[in-house]
Symmetry: C2
């Protein structure tokens, strides 16, 4: 691989001059500039980012670290971050990691956005610094160099519970995901709190545990229906997929949704509108989430533009799965 030195030699100038040319310095004469550029082109010169970063102690890259590429729909979230990152003249790399987190540790990026439960709080706490700010999307962390950009899960759950209570439900069950999920658990908390506010009680046996997948929702609901004699008239699920699985289980038992049991989901994935019955759920603006996360990071990174104290937009969307006899199409 051709280096600056090679280009310099070929152009008959010094390395410094070559470097100046490459960085567009105004001091260089048009003539030398052309010579150098020609030499660079001929040799197929490409700058070495590692050397550059090492020298400048700055990469102009931010990292987005997630736990894996399956699971929730990251597309919009990623898009929201990407757009903002480019707007700030940086690049983004996305990477999944489950134990080493090498790319997070070895100073490849100037800052990072975290949505990865594999990464321990303690690690993030020790990593964050003035020069290496972090934004977390999946935990509560007290640290001057870590900002949180969290979904208003409890706010969403309040809307769900309000809706169900208005529909006349008194006993409402909950389908939770894995306990490792921050959003999942805060949805559960929000649910309980909203029930309490309404003066309704929640029986532990109406709390089902699954793992956010459709099949897990189906299985845990099947087991529940087999075991229990009487059921809640409605179930709230921590995400859409599990709600869909649970609905299938209910239907397989010969019962009807929402007539026998009503359901609500969370996230508003594309499928929700097309599912039968269409799924009542909470629409989350993931792209906005990504934008705000990135903006928050750049604020810490460059101390410019004030922090937008903006809450992520969330909206309950009633559909067939929780509306008795309405909205059939």
């Amino acid at each position: 691989m051709a280096t600056l030195k090679d280009v310099a030699k070929k152009a008959g100038v010094s390395v410094a001059t070559t470097s100046y040319v490459m960085n567009g310095s105004k001091l260089i004469t048009e003539e030398t500039k052309e010579k150098v550029l020609a030499a660079a082109k001929e040799l197929g010169y490409r700058p070495n980012g590692n050397a550059k970063n090492l020298k400048k102690n700055k990469t102009h890259i931010i990292g987005f670290f997630l736990s894996g590429f399956t699971g929730p729909f990251f597309n919009e979230l990623l898009e929201g971050i990407q757009v903002t990152v480019i707007k700030n003249g940086y690049e983004m790399v996305v990477c999944a990691s489950d134990d080493k987190h090498r790319l997070l540790l070895e100073q490849y990026v100037d800052g990072a956005i975290i949505l990865n439960y594999h990464i321990a709080d303690e690690l993030l706490d020790s990593l964050a610094s003035e020069k290496f700010p972090l934004v977390v999307l999946d935990r509560d962390l007290e640290n001057p160099h870590i900002s949180q950009v969290l979904l208003p899960n409890k706010h969403g759950m309040k809307q769900v519970v309000d809706h169900l209570v208005e529909e006349g439900h008194q006993r409402i069950g909950f389908i939770a995901g894995s306990e490792e999920s921050f959003d999942g658990e805060s949805r559960l908390e929000g649910f309980k709190e909203s029930l309490a506010t309404r003066g309704l009680s929640f029986d532990k046996k109406d709390l089902l545990r699954a793992d956010f997948t459709e099949i897990s929702g189906l299985l845990c609901m099947k087991e529940y229906l087999d075991k229990e004699a009487d059921y809640p008239t409605a179930f709230v699920s921590a995400n859409d997929e599990m709600a869909m699985g649970a609905i299938k289980a209910v239907q397989q038992k010969g019962m009807k949704v929402p007539e026998d049991i009503a359901f609500t989901g969370f996230d508003d994935i594309d499928l929700s509108r097309y599912f039968h019955p269409s799924l009542s759920t909470v629409c989350v603006q993931k792209k906005q989430w990504g934008r705000i996360a990135a903006e928050t990071l750049f604020h810490m990174l460059e101390k410019k533009h004030a922090v937008a104290e903006e809450e992520i937009t969330i909206e309950f969307i009633p559909r067939e799965s929780s509306l008795k006899g309405v909205m059939r199409d």
Copy 2:
């Protein structure tokens, strides 16, 4: 940020020794090792990847470069690559770029997988080398250091056309995506070739151009129906989203799918089964695609394990949208 030198000083040994300890050399006594590790821990030492990469001229990172995070469903594809990359002891970074391609150019990665029409053939051609192999998923390129791992689009289209002809269709239209898409265009070609093989003709006016989105499919079909007096009895779409949009346009005109016009899609996105009518489509094993792409890259990178001459699995799935009076559920 603490460096090896800092750790060395604190531990009272040389930088070299410290480096050995960090890299787990067997030559170091247990005693010095502990001293060094303790010092490193106390200082919160983290290796500097840029310095390491610069020195070793190797990053153990491969890059996956795509055009954006919206659009097709990348999740499975990404997962397929990720799993294989980890299995080979590397890390993967995913990045979207539309003009500078800095991360691709500046030697941050040891090799790359490309699915990004923004990157010109010429650039890839000049970049690829023994030390920097490339795998392309979206183009045909003749270069000893670039491997292609392409979807069997034509094979899939043959199955689609076979099916439609068996269903009795003679005049079949096509909904194409943007011309920049390699897969889209090769699906169109495959479609035309299969028609020709069957002895069927294809009228240019039955070729609609959209951009892979559902709304574009709806709009172009609406326009077509308004303009033309008689229609094909079936339309093949280059992807699922456009097919769904087009179906809506037909339904809005008061016509029935598949009775008046049948439709097929391509990709088998989740929604296809839930759409009404459920969409006949071609299921593409995207995870397998990712795995093969990564394996191919590692083959070039490390000259080990033979190249699997494996074609990506593709299967036509007939559903309601192209079956007359069958499979209603």
